[in-house]
């Protein structure tokens, strides 16, 4: 069970919250190993329990059952002071950045260093280095209210790295940012991982975040881990319904609607540069299933035929045939 390079190990973790009326179980049967140096993604729909899970790693939430090991250390056995000390080796960034609004950029980065008891001059020097690392050197005296979302997250990253942590936890760190800023923050995280070898745990509900930076991923669905493994294998062969739902957000539902009607499309010298089938799918907003295809490209002209299975919905199927005929193709319904 114990792997030599496991930095975080979660065993049979369960977390429930007791409310006035009842007990809500946010997580159950969680077993997870995160290896040193990897970028580990935890993905799930909102309410799946992923934010609670990441808070169990640094014990911001105490698990109801089970154990969390950080660097071989049983987190449940630590005293308050030891826990505070251990947390200095686990940086964390948040969706809403959570910067101190009344402190400058440098003041914010110095804060964790103050907690660790680093002398003031040394802390300032380190803070400037970190600010340069995240590319905000000129914003040293700015207050958070004067920064953009992406800049705030950069400051938060610098702050989280101040005490040279072994692990960086990212709780929906890019969910409040636009796509372009998201990409630049992800690139920064990837760079930090590569340069410093810091293990990064990424919590997200967006598949593209996982695609972009993660090496391994755990899919959380309904308080449990549905599937875990390397990102490439989960992408190509998702085993569970939860995984398929995330990998093909709309795909699964539509697949059901493919009916038994088939249509043969004959190409007799149309332009092969025109993506006819793809355009038809886009125009009719429904997928088709290609059953058979035999086409040739001769001097930019397409010859041959394709047989597709049409959607079950009669109206859409008829629309597709009409669309193809309009494009000057021979399209006819066939029985397979």
């Amino acid at each position: 069970m114990s792997e030599p390079n496991a930095i975080i190990r979660i065993e049979n973790l369960e977390k429930s919250f007791i409310t006035k009326k009842n007990t809500v179980t946010a997580l159950r049967d969680i077993n997870l190993t995160i290896r040193e140096g990897e970028i580990f993604g935890i993905i799930g729909m909102s309410g799946a329990g992923k934010s609670t899970l990441v808070r169990c790693i640094n014990y911001l939430e105490r698990p109801t059952k089970g154990k969390v090991f950080f660097n071989g250390l049983d987190m449940s056995k630590l005293s308050r002071r030891e826990l505070e000390k251990t947390r200095q080796s686990i940086g964390m960034i948040f969706q809403q950045f959570n910067l101190l609004m009344q402190r400058t950029t440098i003041g914010n980065i110095c804060f964790p260093l103050e907690i660790a008891g680093v002398p003031k001059e040394e802390a300032r020097k380190r803070a400037y280095e970190l600010l340069e690392l995240v590319g905000l050197k000129e914003k040293d005296k700015a207050y958070p209210s004067e920064l953009s979302g992406g800049q705030k997250q950069r400051v938060a990253i610098a702050r989280a790295l101040a005490n040279n942590p072994k692990v960086l936890l990212c709780d929906e760190a890019t969910s409040a940012l636009d796509p372009k800023t998201t990409r630049s923050i992800l690139a920064l995280l990837k760079d930090i991982n590569a340069r410093m070898g810091i293990t990064i745990v990424v919590i997200t509900h967006e598949m593209r975040v996982i695609e972009e930076i993660c090496t391994s991923v755990a899919i959380i669905d309904d308080s449990r881990i549905a599937e875990t493994g390397r990102v490439d294998s989960i992408f190509t062969r998702p085993q569970t319904a939860a995984a398929r739902k995330l990998v093909f957000p709309d795909g699964e539902n539509q697949a059901k609607y493919i009916g038994s009607r088939c249509c043969r499309i004959v190409f007799e010298g149309n332009s092969s540069f025109e993506p006819v089938v793809a355009n038809m799918i886009l125009a009719c907003h429904a997928p088709v299933n290609i059953m058979f295809a035999d086409t040739k490209d001769i001097d930019g002209k397409a010859f041959g035929q394709i047989v597709v299975q049409l959607p079950e919905d009669t109206l859409t199927a008829n629309k597709m045939i009409a669309y193809l005929q309009e494009q000057g193709l021979t399209a006819e319904e066939v029985q397979l």
Binding site: R87, Q102, Y143
Partner: protein
């Protein structure tokens, strides 16, 4: 107006400012920690403690529900035990502090509660101890709001101090009651009221100005 009256009014201003300033300071020394304790020991606080929270909460509520004038009279023996007399500006400070401290505790509590819980969570994730969170996160982050609260507190205490005139508490309120109420001297009463209004305005404006100036959220 004769020099004696002017002299009396000036002394009234000095007494009022003295009572207000000292009472506010002492009330903050007591009320600020109480407000912090309320936030920290609350159910979602950084060190929940149901017993401490409930007891303190009840005491603050009781103290806040007693009208100041009744307070003033009720604690006369206590006042006499502390300052040796129950008359004059110094004696008035005691009931002012006792009445204002719970009020300030509530002001401080609500100021700290305005802080985004995420910021406190972030500090916890960095390994900050509860004491450091109080001194380095809660109080500095709530500073502008606490300053706004202190402008409210100081003007309220000023108002209370005028009521102390009814029991010979000294200051402008005392003058207004003695001359305006008992002797029907409307001129002096109007003058004292005008001075009180001006002092309140100054405190309020200066307080708000400092609060806005100190706020880095713009």
């Amino acid at each position: 107006m004769d020099p004696a009256t002017i002299q009396m009014l000036l002394q009234g201003i000095v007494d009022t400012l003295y009572m207000t300033a000292v009472a506010t300071l002492l009330a903050y020394i007591i009320g600020l920690p109480l407000g912090v304790i309320q936030v920290v020991t609350a159910k979602d606080g950084i060190k929940p403690n149901r017993f401490v929270y409930t007891v303190l909460n009840v005491i603050i509520n009781i103290a806040r529900s007693i009208p100041f004038l009744i307070f003033l009279v009720a604690i006369l023996p206590f006042t006499r035990a502390i300052v040796g007399t129950s008359i004059g500006a110094t004696a008035t400070i005691v009931p002012l502090v006792v009445a204002a401290a719970p009020f300030i505790a509530r002001l401080v509590e609500s100021s700290i509660k305005e802080i985004d819980p995420g910021v406190i969570e972030a500090a916890q994730s960095m390994g900050a101890s509860p004491m450091r969170i109080i001194t380095h996160v809660m109080l500095p982050e709530a500073r502008p709001s606490i300053l706004v609260g202190s402008a409210i507190a100081i003007t309220t205490i000023l108002g209370y101090s005028s009521m102390a005139g009814f029991v010979g508490g000294g200051g402008l309120g005392d003058i207004a009651i003695r001359f305006g109420y008992y002797r029907y001297d409307n001129t002096i009463m109007l003058i004292t009221v005008a001075i009180l209004v001006i002092i309140v305005q100054i405190f309020q404006e200066v307080g708000m100005w400092i609060a806005t100036k100190s706020d880095r959220r713009k």
